[in-house]
């Protein structure tokens, strides 16, 4: 079963994307903060994480850093409204697998998540 964790402090976004990916046979968990995300990564063990950057508390980049320390294999796609060059570079340096800016194309997001799943399957 493909497992996806969606991290966004906006519950509506989490719910919308959850429903979207569940329709595509994903098992989906959601988190609304960086701390929450780290717990979910440990417990839910997702294949792919969609990670927002701007969140209260531990933000997306902080969470990304911690995820990379303990879970190097999980694919992390930054999904954020922030599109400044330095943030993009920082995310890539910290090991993000992609950086998608909101508003996004659902078709592209779906394809990118599926690509990451396929990649993991290939490695396995």
């Amino acid at each position: 079963m493909k497992k996806l964790l969606i991290v966004d402090d906006e519950v509506e976004i989490c719910e919308f994307l959850k429903s979207f990916f569940e329709d595509r046979d994903f098992k989906v968990a959601t988190a609304v903060s960086g701390e929450d995300a780290l717990r979910q990564v440990a417990v839910f063990q997702p294949h792919v994480v969609l990670l927002d950057i701007q969140m209260p508390g531990l933000d997306g980049l902080g969470a990304l850093k911690k995820i990379r320390e303990s879970y190097p294999k999980v694919k992390v796609i930054m999904v954020t409204a922030v599109e400044t060059q330095d943030k993009i570079e920082e995310a890539m340096r910290l090991g993000a697998d992609n950086y998608i800016t909101k508003p996004l194309s659902l078709e592209y997001l779906e394809k990118d998540v599926q690509d990451k799943i396929d990649l993991l399957a290939k490695i396995a």
């Binding site: 919308f16 194309s105 659902l106």
Partner: protein, 420 residues
Amino acid sequence: MPTGTGFTNNGKFDYQEVLRDVARSMVRLKRPDRLLKLITRFIDRQFGLTHTSLLILDSKKKRYEFVNSKGTGRLPANLVKFDPDHALIQWFSDPKKKQAISREYLFLSDVKKMLSRAEFRLASNSKSEQLAGVQKAMQNLKVELAVPGYFKDTLVGVLMLGRRLNGRCFAKQEVTFFQTLAHDCSMAVKTSEYNQSLLEQNRELERRLEEIEGMRRKEQRTYYEIMRSLAEEVHAKEPYTFGHVSEVERLGLMTARELGMDTVGRAKDIISAALILHDVGKIGIPDGILCKPGRLDPDEWAIMKTHVEKGAKILEPLTDFKKVREIILAHHERFDGSGYPHGLKGDQIPIEARIVSVVDSFHAIVSTRCYREGRSIEVAFDELQNCAGSQFDPVVVEAFISVLKKELQKKGKDFVLHHL
């Protein structure tokens, strides 16, 4: 336009009335975002849909974004976009082209029917691919009905409607009504964009004009400075015992003030420039004439007289100082009309020119020239008074003498002479 005057949906509302409201709102609301919100909210309340969402073209970013979404199954704000090459946008983008199904609106159920038809299933052509993309997008967003809105031939927005909560289908009149609203939304967006771009263009124009004006002023300033040094040069050619253009300027300004004239800001700039530059035309007079010891013969005198016109000519590029040219041109006119170059009389001569004339003559009398020693201030005063009414304006002579006398009393003769 909606059909059916007085059509009501179970007596719930009157389309005509609603349309009038919307039209009024469009006029009233300068900001289209409010109108779009109003329309979305209105549909949501009146029709009871899972969601009512409005996809609008952002011309600058060249993409379509959801600006509003209402209902229990609403789309999150700022999450989904459609690029212009998206199948749904492509499908609606050419309103003129005849298609298998109308591009005026699109029911998901119709799309499904279309795709299940043999011709679509068999032919894997670009149209079926496009339609499959449309279907997918509508399913992704749980949209049952999509209604495009155009401005001219540009697809400006798409009204995306979810399922009806009571399970009923949309009536033809309702679809027509949605088309009207989608059209209104597009109009509002484009009108506001147009106004916005006009505003921006105006601002840009104003900025550019200011920039040009600034450059022009700077250039004029530079030119003025060059003229000023030229004037100094002219005076240097005539070895005055004392005196300097700046002091001629000071005396003239004092006289103007004594006469109650405006001597601040632009008015001061004009008088100053005229006082400083009045003899700049002498730059075009041969040194042999300019500095000739003894009297000039009539031919030489005729050449000498041209310095006023030459001066005015030199100052032509100073468009800000048109008045200065007039003054310089008139500074050898005489009060009784016997001066040159035009023989102006009395108040035909600009007051500033009458001042320059008095100050200049005074200066000439007390200064030592190539051909004679400078005379005393008292002699100069006598001469000015003698010529008051013929060469000079008596009022200006009086003001000049009075202000200079005050200065003499206050600061002493030596001071005044040294500062002439």
